[in-house]
Symmetry: C2
Subunit: 259 residues, 2 copies
DNA sequence: CGGCATTCTTGAACGTGTTCAAACCCGCTC
DNA sequence: GAGCGGGTTTGAACACGTTCAAGAATGCCG
């Protein structure tokens, strides 16, 4: 669909190739099928080492300051080997997102267990997010840099990021669990809230206030607004507006792959 | 405020320096003060040549495929000289944005002259935007890539982009001219509409439909929604929501430099 | 064991954006 | 003219992300 990338840029001799081997995304956990070898295969162990080295260096030095050479060295492999498992440095970031997301889910669990009201649940989850990502503020800008580029596998609409995006939406679906909602919205809200959280992230990235106070304030405000909007959606006075918004969302979904 | 960038990355010998000379942003047009020499100074002419070469190559080959070496050669200067005038390749893009924005203003003029209703004016201006940027779709992603990075001078909140952003808001202020509005919003709307247009841009970037039809449809829908919201804002029933939104916006403005 | 295929690994090489110290130019004053 | 000084220009050099052809390891079948 998108042309395979190397068409305008001048190349060396013979610029073929397209998809790498990429021993990735096997069905389930390792150690399931095959001839039950004890644990991870050799390649998988190497991949693991590379991810770990990368995450550690990212955390310590930031994304830009971490070179692929440093990652390779820290993982005890040759430079080219890192590229065998991760076709680009950006792709290494995906591992990072995954980790952050899992931490976020974990941090949200207590809130979701304790609170019943929409406002409290949403607020708790959003504040948990801000909490969780705080240690990475110094380099998280990068998320958006390539996230906005349609050609980058990191943008949330790229197939490669589909899982992580849908996991994000899932979390917001949990936020809505047990909450009374206008039924026209029930379907749309998880994706909308996920988008909203991306907006907060964008604000957060630009926020250099101490302790990220401004982002926290913003979360309080916007959660109020969002919850108000959701509740107002039931009001018959707003029916025409609601119709418009739903029509827009329907169109939006045609554009993407949207499940 | 933001540390001057070269603190973690390993450097060659002596990594001092901070601000370049950058013979830029003189008060008015050239040829005003000084001993009235005919026209542009030598340096200004060189700078001009570099911009022109860059824009042409960007248009022809896209941003990534255009190398600084190619720009320099096309401008008839040495590589290093391009960096004397533009501290980075990104900064060259700014010249491009400027050009696009001026084209957008020009394309909007007829609409603003002819239409009186808010919906028509906003719709016309937004469609004009989509029209104007269409030729650059193949590489405009880059706008957002660095636009989202707080450290990049291209992000709209960076001082270096302040002028171009405020020019954008100005255009939307024109859209509102002669339109009846809830006066609480009058102040906020230009910036909000500009933000809205950025959102559309983001959609547009990801839109690979033929003739960018989907974006156009999106514009129609969202303009409807936006106009509805503005009109509803006057409704007393929504006063509490309105108050919340305004409080949020106030907070938002503290964060930025916002005029 | 000997071949063969597949997966994994290597490191040199390429092209890129960017930096820097040294030169060049040009108008000025002695 | 000689010397000075600041704006301008140069091109080599650097570090980086990425590619690639070639080589090891490993597994598999006879």
């Amino acid at each position: 669909m998108v042309e395979p990338r190397g068409s305008n840029r001048p190349r060396g001799p013979r610029g073929s190739r397209a998809a790498r081997a990429a021993p990735d995304s096997a069905a389930g956990e390792p150690g399931s099928g095959e001839h039950g070898s004890g644990e991870l295969s050799k390649g998988e162990r190497t991949k693991e080492r590379i991810v770990e080295a990368a995450l550690e260096l990212f955390r310590r030095d930031g994304y830009e300051a971490t070179t692929m050479r440093a990652v390779a060295e820290a993982a005890g492999v040759a430079l080219g080997n890192a590229y065998y498992y991760f076709a680009s440095k950006d792709l290494l970031l995906q591992a990072f997102y995954q980790e952050v997301h899992e931490a976020h889910v974990a941090a949200s669990a207590p809130v979701l267990a304790a609170q019943r009201g929409l406002r409290e649940r949403l607020l708790g989850v959003m504040l948990a997010k801000v909490e969780v990502i705080e240690p990475y503020h110094h380099f998280s800008a990068l998320m958006f840099r390539s996230a906005a580029d349609p050609k980058s596998p990191l943008n949330p609409f790229h197939p490669a990021s589909a899982t992580i995006r849908s996991e994000g939406e899932q979390l917001f679906a949990q936020v809505l669990e047990g909450v009374k909602l206008p039924k026209a919205l029930r379907h749309e809200l998880p994706a909308l809230l996920w988008t909203y959280s991306m907006g907060i992230l964008l604000y957060w990235i630009h926020d250099d206030s101490a302790g990220r106070e401004r982002t926290r304030a913003m979360v309080h405000h916007t959660v109020d607004v969002v919850v108000s909007c959701i509740q107002l959606a039931a009001n018959p006075l707003l029916r025409p507006l609601q119709r418009r918004v739903l029509a827009m969302l329907a169109d939006l979904r045609i554009g993407r792959g949207g499940a």
